[in-house]
């Protein structure tokens, strides 16, 4: 298979990679860069477990080719805290008991953090709209909704 040499900016660092033209961002993140916080849940764009931020917007890494990400800033859950100990949204998820098995958590936290950055004081309906496609089989979403509200409060206090 032909490969293409690309440079990807992931979590603030530039990576030189040679990827297949049909290689998905999800694979590159997990298999090559070992950012395994980005999860596989379906591989076909139905569960959002593979969400990462691309220039601050949540995208499904199983639906994006690695070569499409050249020149963009990709942030995975491992990079969200940007060198701090943790991001306020991460703290909120723990404090509110919104983490059970935790498999959906990275995608939830990233999506929620992106929402609040855009809309610092979201209504419950805004949170529902943003997380509509994010699938969690454990929590029943009740605590997740609450955690995002509390994370938003923390983010507002910090800004």
């Amino acid at each position: 298979m032909n490969t293409i040499s690309i440079e990807l900016n992931v979590n603030g660092r530039d990576w030189q990679l040679s990827v297949a033209p049909n290689e998905m961002l999800l694979n590159v993140l997990r298999e090559r860069l070992h950012y395994t916080g980005t999860k596989y849940g379906c591989g076909i764009g139905e569960c959002s477990a593979c969400t990462v931020l691309m220039d601050d917007t949540p995208v499904l890494s199983c639906q994006i080719l690695a070569v499409q990400c050249v020149g963009k800033k990709i942030v995975t859950i491992e990079g969200l805290a940007e060198g701090q100990e943790s991001h306020p949204m991460q703290d909120a998820f723990i404090e509110e008991g919104a983490v059970q098995c935790g498999f959906c958590t990275p995608a939830m936290v990233l999506t929620a953090a992106a929402l609040v950055k855009e809309k610092p004081d979201p209504e419950n309906q805004d949170i529902r709209d943003a997380l509509r496609g994010n699938f969690c089989r454990c929590t029943g979403y009740v605590k997740i909704l609450k955690a995002v509200q509390s994370g938003a409060r923390k983010m507002r206090e910090l800004s």
Partner: protein
């Protein structure tokens, strides 16, 4: 009861929280090792077929390691080892040339990359003989040839299968003929519950590494590392001290990891053949063909006197178990048990039949038989109340099995007595909170949206222990050790599936030693370093699992007190533990002589330097009861009579968990249990195409619709009430929550729909189409 506790009943950030929010937690699917091969499983495109020949030439040319039924161990086993051998049917081999469902497996390949493995898998050529397939129970039972299984084993005894009937079970108490004669009112109804897919977010995965000194190390998705170890050791004839199964957190199980997932056996076969580490992670599609909840179809007949006493009950159930036994005999047993233990009946008869079909093998999913049965029984209590002109709640309070009574939720071989019972308290508080009686009286109106209120109750057993050993194994081994700085480590193979089981164990130990929660650690565990733990299932995590940890902690404390008494020159019985909130230290002091004192750290350190030893203890503990964790739900719904959609408006949930160890996490269990049960009631079912046997949702999550964040109420509209009970046999008064959170919700939702539109549905899920059709018939 737990106001006096220092740590239990308080909320602390969960121990795995940081790892999970930062993406650092490693699940089986995240693991990779040097020089690891990737495996792909070779699967049948047919629902029922035999393989005439198989050709690996092209795959081998690609460098793939290939394995099939021709060269894998072929002994019979059951993937689920929770029951004792004499109650275990065995109809599995690792691979077979007889394909019994679409997606059944006959071999596997491994290669350097996943892509290459996929290519090699596609290059395998098979010559098929397609057999007639049986996709309904009726077709299956009518068949006398080309059976799905011809011969299976019950323990070591050969069993010849007839008419695709996998097994049957009958349980009788009293004389039902006489009972029905005594009845003033008799009602009979047929109920059906769906094949709900677990849809745990992480698909089934396994990594197996052959070790240089022989044996293997295994990282599977499982709820039971020890049962996985024992099965792999048996099937591959590896000494059990050379099969090391590591406890790795899984991305959800909900019962699908009680049995050893076939992927663990297949990965092991490949790894042993290749003598290399192999990893297989199922695609979502493969996962959907791997496991599903037991569906049920049963007729329930109940007789009652005019005063509401139940004179007789008869349940006749047919269970479409799919193409393998994942201990269906146990399932039939618990169906009878959950039914028998909901309400007192003067006589009862249960007849269960498990039928093989060419479908996905069915297994436990949250509730294991209880949701199936509770749906019918609770619906019937509503119907009976209506017929008797009684209040449905009063009828339940009059008849439920409670304090001081014998019950056997886990089937007829597991009988124990009830020592704590918060049923009435929860019902009264819940009814008050949601204003049940007012809502019940409310006019439904004739508008597009109709509101309804529903109620139902139920329970799950906290584990499967009983005074007498039964058909199910139930014990946990734990070790508790005090370190020289006063911190404490718990070592046990007990799993935490996300519900907070291990946090509960840590909190109980913190309470026993009066040390702060953050000083208690959970050691990484694998099957080699721990004693047997049956599994985290049956709502046994806190009561049996953390209960075992508690018993062991008490023994460790005795040792610590022995050291302290030598150090302080006193008797162990004169000592007490005092937690100092300001310093965070814990002291061991002589009662009444506070100057004779040392911190736990000082005692442990002193004991080490004096060569007395470490305060450490390890033991296997079996609980001799499995107290009912009662739950109930009041649910308010709104039915859109134009679209048939049902919206959950408000939920008031009641949980009788005894002492609540982790209140916030326990609330989370109730939310999650309700969410999955509402899915089963309103949306979720997997169906097979009647001719091809394929899943009609084509393994797409969009076509296996589940509720999302949009459909669940927020916390203001989802209240959880805990009963103020204390379970005398439990760790610090605790019993379970887990599956009980699911069991009583389905009939509550169905009853709310009935209240809204006057139609009682007896078949789940209740789709919008069903509702529209019913509305059309009733001309609402």
């Amino acid at each position: 009861m737990y106001e006096n506790y220092q740590f239990v009943g308080k909320d602390y950030p969960r121990k795995e929280g940081k790892a999970r929010v930062s993406g650092k937690e490693k699940y089986p699917s995240d693991l990779s090792f040097d020089h690891m091969l990737y495996g792909r499983i070779l699967r049948s495109p047919y629902a029922h077929a035999r393989i005439k020949s198989i050709d690996f030439t092209e795959a081998r040319k690609m460098g793939a390691v290939c394995i099939s039924y021709e060269d894998a161990p072929d002994q019979f086993f059951n993937v689920r080892l929770v029951s004792i051998p004499s109650a275990t049917y065995k109809d599995w081999t690792i691979f077979s040339d007889h394909m019994r469902q679409v997606g059944d497996f006959y071999g596997a390949v491994a290669a350097e990359t996943e892509e290459l493995a996929e290519k090699a898998a596609r290059a395998v050529r098979v010559e098929w003989e397609v057999l007639p397939s049986y996709l309904t129970m009726e077709d299956a039972m009518a068949a006398s040839e080309n059976l799905i299984h011809e011969k299976v084993y019950l323990h070591d005894k050969e069993v010849i299968i007839r008419n695709n009937i996998a097994c049957t079970r009958e349980v009788v108490e009293g004389d039902i003929e006489e009972g029905f004669k005594q009845a003033d009112v008799i009602i009979e109804e047929t109920f059906e519950t769906p094949r709900q897919y677990h849809c745990q977010l992480e698909t089934k995965t396994c990594v197996v590494r052959p070790e240089p000194e022989g044996g293997i190390t295994v990282w599977p998705t499982t709820q039971a590392v020890h049962n996985t170890r024992i099965l792999l050791g048996k099937v591959f004839t590896i000494p059990l001290n050379k099969v090391n199964v590591v406890r790795v957190p899984g991305g959800g199980h909900f019962g699908s990891g009680i049995h050893t997932n076939p992927v663990a056996l297949i990965t092991t076969a490949l790894a042993l053949k290749a003598n290399r580490t192999v990893k297989i992670s199922l695609s979502r599609e493969e996962d959907m063909y791997d496991h599903v909840r037991y569906p049920s179809k049963y007729t329930l007949k109940v007789g009652a006197r005019r005063d509401g006493t139940l004179t007789a009950g008869h349940m006749k159930a047919y269970i479409d178990i799919g193409c393998h036994h994942v201990q269906a005999l146990a399932f039939l047993g618990v169906m009878s048990g959950f039914w028998h233990s909901l309400y007192r009946m003067e006589s009862m008869k249960y007849e269960g039949t498990a039928v093989y079909t060419n479908k996905v093998p069915t297994c436990a999913m949250q509730g294991y038989g209880a949701p199936q049965v509770t749906f019918g029984v609770e619906s019937m209590m509503d119907m009976l109340a209506e017929k008797l002109g009684m209040d449905p709640i009063a009828l339940r309070i009059q008849n439920y099995v409670g304090l001081g009574e014998i019950f056997w939720g886990q089937g007829p071989t597991i009988k124990s007595k009830i020592f704590s019972d918060g049923v009435v308290e929860l019902i009264e508080k819940g009814a008050e909170r949601i204003k049940y009686y007012e809502l019940k009286k409310q006019e439904k109106g004739s508008g597009r949206y109709r509101k309804g209120i529903g109620f139902a109750r139920g329970f799950h057993t906290s584990g499967t222990g009983a005074p007498m050993p039964g058909e199910v194994k139930d014990y946990t081994t734990a070790q508790v050790k005090v370190n020289e700085d006063g911190s404490i480590d718990i070592l046990t193979a007990l799993m935490d599936q996300g519900g907070g089981t291990l946090d509960a164990a840590a909190k109980i130990v913190a309470e026993e030693f009066q040390v702060s929660f953050d000083k208690v650690g959970i050691s990484p565990a694998d099957s080699r370093s721990t004693g047997y733990d049956v599994c985290t299932h049956a709502t046994r995590g806190v009561y049996c699992g953390a209960g075992a940890v508690h018993e062991v902690a008490k023994e460790t404390k005795k040792i610590l007190f022995d050291y302290a008494s030598r150090m302080l020159d006193t008797y162990p019985g004169s000592l007490e533990l005092i937690y100092e909130e300001d310093t965070g230290e814990t002291r061991i002091s002589v009662v009444g002589n506070p100057e004779r004192t040392a911190t736990i750290a000082e005692v442990a350190d002193h004991a080490m330097n004096k060569d007395w030893g470490t305060a450490i203890f390890s033991k296997s503990i079996r609980k001799t009861a499995c107290p009912p964790a009662y739950t109930n739900y009041f649910v308010e719904v709104e039915v859109d009579t134009h679209t048939g959609h049902v919206r959950i408006l408000r939920v008031v949930a009641g949980s009788d968990a005894g002492t609540v160890i982790n209140p916030d996490l326990a609330r989370g269990q109730m939310h999650g249990g309700f969410y999955r049960s509402a899915g089963m009631v309103l949306l979720e079912n997997t169906q097979h195409d009647g001719s091809t046997g394929e899943l009609t949702n084509k393994a797409s999550l969009l076509d296996y619709k589940m509720m999302g964040i949009d459909e669940m109420p927020d916390e203001d509209n989802f209240e959880v009430i805990f009963a103020s009970t204390y379970e005398p046999t439990g760790p610090l008064g605790a019993k379970g929550v887990g599956e009980a959170a699911f069991n009583s919700a389905p009939p509550a939702i169905a009853s709310a729909i009935c209240d809204a539109i006057g139609v009682r549905f007896t078949k789940l899920p209740i789709s919008p189409e069903d509702i529209l059709e019913a509305i059309g018939e009733k001309k609402l």
